[in-house]
Amino acid sequence: MPPLMPEPLDAADKRIINALQGGFPLCDEPYREIAERLGLSEAELLARLQAMLDARVLTRFGPMFQVERMGGAFVLAAMKVREDDFERVAALVNGLAEVAHNYRREHVFNMWLVLATETQAGIAAAIAELERLSGYPVYAFPKEREYFVEMRLQAS
């Protein structure tokens, strides 16, 4: 589970994160190209990337797929879980492969998850499975319109 407050990053780590927000080269030795741009050795870049993934500073490094373009679906859903039951339900919910993200939030709706499935029908099936496993209703909030999405956040 990613820590809430990991160790502070050093300047080189921040530069790596910012340099890897997009446009990763599709050439034979892409890490070398990025390393040269950053004034690092390829070995150091690879080692730092691995360390940041291990420490969960980075949750992923690779292609970000748009599941909707593959015929699949991404749906936000929320649950109101009893506080004394939260850990049990979190473990059940996280165990489902269709749950791509899950956040605890301060609200009566205290569990917010994103379901990612390969087909539209997969969402309803995953919701039914979550309700069956947890015993709680799952409220789906499918997006009706996207006004803006920009995942990139700069480390500063």
């Binding site: 109101k80 319109r145 700069q154």
Partner: protein, 157 residues
């Protein structure tokens, strides 16, 4: 997306190999040429099937310790025009219209706001409120207090 594309998705969804020649590593696993892997990834980028190839930081780790999902109840006849304006704010990372779930959930406009502190998020939320001036019936900000899972999409073979 053909069968080989699908296998390429399966081979990369957990991440790109951290080796000197990552596309060659994938090519070996798939039994195709590295140039074919690169060409297919380029095609998926061009078509939008891949949004980007890059790193996904843990928001907390890069200094965004306050992550608020601001939610707003905006009349249906105004929500689209206002949603576009809120999505254009430089500090909003995601902005969507979603269905209300009455009576539990009256909000139909969602805007994610990140900051180094809750005070910073609240200052940004106030700027959203100013745009919605007079057109918003209720709002709330739901702060995340824990990342329970963050793996992204996982296709199954």
């Amino acid at each position: 997306m053909d069968e080989l594309d699908r296998r390429l998705v399966l081979a990369t969804q957990a991440g790109l190999p951290l080796v000197q020649r990552p596309y060659h590593r994938l090519a070996d696993a798939l039994g195709i040429a590295a140039a074919e892997v690169q060409a297919r990834l380029q095609r998926m980028l061009d078509s939008g099937l891949i949004r980007r190839i890059g790193a996904v930081p843990n928001h907390y780790a890069i200094g965004y310790t306050a992550n608020g999902m601001s939610v707003w109840d905006v009349p249906d006849e105004h929500v689209d025009a206002l949603g576009v304006r809120i999505g254009a704010l430089d500090f909003v990372t995601h902005c969507y219209r979603r269905p209300r779930r009455l009576p539990d959930w009256p909000y139909n406009l969602f805007a994610m706001v990140h900051g180094g502190s809750r005070a910073e998020v609240e200052e940004k939320v106030a700027r959203v409120a100013a745009i919605l001036d007079g057109k918003c019936r209720a709002h709330d900000v739901l702060y995340s207090t824990r990342i329970l899972k963050k793996t992204g999409l996982r296709l199954t073979a």
